[in-house]
């Protein structure tokens, strides 16, 4: 059964939002268990409220796209999920474990289930492509070198880079770096994959190739995926549900079809990239 068929956003949205955080996003998982739960997540950076009571449940096996303009809090949300940031208030649960209020061991166990693809790939520049992908195995798993080699080559082949193992990150293109980052993220077979702006800075052809790769991972590895993006074609192509962030709050949650059919001027302006509208209107 397809995820976007399981949960109707109308059924899922809490009809009685709290007074303090009126964002209508408290999502009730209907059938599949939750892979990630964000509960009233609040975070300020340099005196600016970046996340303002974000609540969202991402179900196991689904692909959730979090969209929004620059500074909307998308990447900050991802960083909270992997425990790179601690919220001022609220919690993040990964497979039921609260990663915001846990000891080091539990956080490591939660991170073990997650693969993270960074916006800039974040490959270690001093290591070759092969060594970058092998790094998590070498640091965490006591397996012989031939097995490491086999697994790394398998993942590099999966992302279409079987021949690039000996190259340094400085010798490959941006799109190849993204794919190496993905190979590194999946090397320990995570249950959840997080993508931070996977198509940012890529040409349309390479962007489509990355989108296909995300779909491929979904199909082959059966992972739960969360991608933050402002690339609507990417969000529509790969996601089963979309959450739209604006000023630290989720203002709309729904399937790609519902987003396309939405009459909400906020949504329409964002997805069609219009310069005039409520997103760009300065308050009087």
């Amino acid at each position: 059964m397809r995820i976007n068929a399981i949960v109707s956003p109308v059924e899922g949205i809490d009809e009685t939002p709290s007074v303090a955080h009126p964002t209508p996003v408290s999502y009730r998982p209907m059938m599949a268990p939750a892979a990630i739960e964000l509960c009233e997540l609040t975070k300020s950076l340099s005196g600016r409220m970046v996340l303002d009571g974000v609540s969202l449940t991402i179900l196991k096996g689904e692909t959730m796209a979090v969209i929004g303009g620059s500074g909307a809090g998308k990447s900050v949300t991802l960083k909270h999920i992997v425990g790179l940031m601690k919220p001022d208030r609220g919690c993040v649960k990964v497979d039921g474990v609260d990663v915001t209020n846990t000891n080091h061991g539990s956080l490591e166990a939660a991170r073990r289930k997650i693969g993270f693809c960074f916006q800039g790939s974040a490959l270690l520049n001093s290591l070759s492509v092969f060594e970058n992908v092998a790094l998590p195995l070498r640091e965490h798993e006591r397996i012989p070198e031939p097995e490491i080699r086999r697994r790394v080559e398998e993942k590099l082949a999966l992302v279409g880079l079987a021949e690039a193992g000996q190259k340094l990150p400085s010798e490959i293109s941006g799109g190849m770096k993204k794919r190496v980052g993905l190979a590194r993220a999946i090397i320990r077979n995570p249950e959840i994959l997080l993508y931070d702006e996977p198509t940012a800075g890529l040409d349309p052809v390479m962007g489509t190739a990355i989108n296909d790769l995300i779909l491929d991972m979904q199909k082959k590895l059966k992972v739960t995926s969360v991608l933050v993006t402002h690339d609507m074609s990417s969000a529509f192509r790969v996601s089963s549900r979309i959450a739209m962030l604006l000023k630290g709050r989720i203002v709309k949650l729904g399937t790609p079809a519902e987003f396309k059919a939405s009459d909400d001027p906020l949504v329409k302006q964002f997805i069609y990239g219009e310069s005039e509208g409520p997103l760009t209107r300065t308050p009087a």
């Binding site: 960083k79 992997v82 073990r112 974040a122 270690l124 520049n125 965490h140 590194r184």
Partner: protein, 256 residues
């Protein structure tokens, strides 16, 4: 006036936070030393980089330090007919003070700035975040090998600097003040106690530790893109220079 007080207060708070962070980083890095065996390859690489890479600069610095000490003190001693004491002064001066301090000031500029820039660049390009997400502690992966490498390199290079500095001093003593090389070295040997050698090397070990922790700490706290890396590098050198001189006074007071 009020703005100046607020600014001073903020500076003081930031300084205290920075000192606390650096001390915590040192304790965490020291706590990772039992895992050194797993990082021996990186540690040896770092040791080779900072030792071999610094040899020419340390050679020049030590040679001219020994020569300057010899020239300056020789001119004063000549007035009292005590030029033969030059061996005593240059040897003690190099082993106790000049060797460790000048070597480590060079290392702060050469290696400390490299560490801060390297780790700072990794920080702003999210490589440090990537390590954390992969459950690889950046302190274990980046800081501990550099801490061990620079602490040991400082001791090795100080020993080398002492020899070069004494040789430079002897050269000037011979050419400018007609002090026989044998007398210069005999006086130096007679004056030098094991405490002088070990005290100087202990100083350089602690200076090396200080430089690496300050540099790695500044790198790990870098933010704001390339400009942030530049600021972290500058702060790393300035703080290391100041701490070397302050610790030098305290250690001299404690050891001798």
């Amino acid at each position: 006036m009020f703005a100046a007080i607020v600014k001073a207060q903020r500076w003081f708070e930031n300084s205290c936070a920075g000192a606390g962070y650096t001390l915590d980083l040192f304790l965490r890095a020291a706590g990772q030393i039992p895992l050194l065996r797993r990082k021996r390859r990186e540690t040896i690489q770092q040791l080779a980089l900072c030792t071999l890479g610094s040899l020419p600069v340390v050679f020049i610095t030590a040679l001219f330090t020994g020569m300057i000490v010899s020239l300056q003190t020789g001119q004063v001693l000549r007035d009292f007919g005590q030029e033969s004491s030059l061996g005593y002064i240059v040897t003690i001066g190099m082993c106790r003070e000049m060797g460790p301090v000048f070597t480590c000031l060079s290392l702060a500029g050469l290696v400390g700035s490299t560490y801060a820039a390297e780790i700072g660049t990794m920080k702003v390009s999210e490589e440090v975040d990537a390590l954390e997400v992969m459950s690889i502690d950046p302190v274990y992966y980046l800081v501990m090998p550099r801490l061990i490498a620079l602490s040991l390199a400082a001791v090795a290079l100080t020993t080398y600097a002492n020899v070069i500095g004494i040789a430079g001093g002897a050269l000037v003593a011979r050419s400018n003040f007609d002090v026989d090389l044998e007398i210069f070295l005999k006086n130096g040997r007679d004056a030098l106690k094991m405490k002088d050698i070990y005290g100087g090397l202990l100083k350089s070990f602690l200076f090396g530790t200080t430089i690496s922790i300050v540099a790695c700490g500044q790198g790990l706290r870098a933010d704001g893109g390339p400009a942030g890396v530049g600021r972290a590098t500058l702060r790393s050198v300035v703080i290391s220079f100041m701490l070397i001189l302050v610790f030098d006074y305290l250690l001299t007071w404690m050891i001798w």
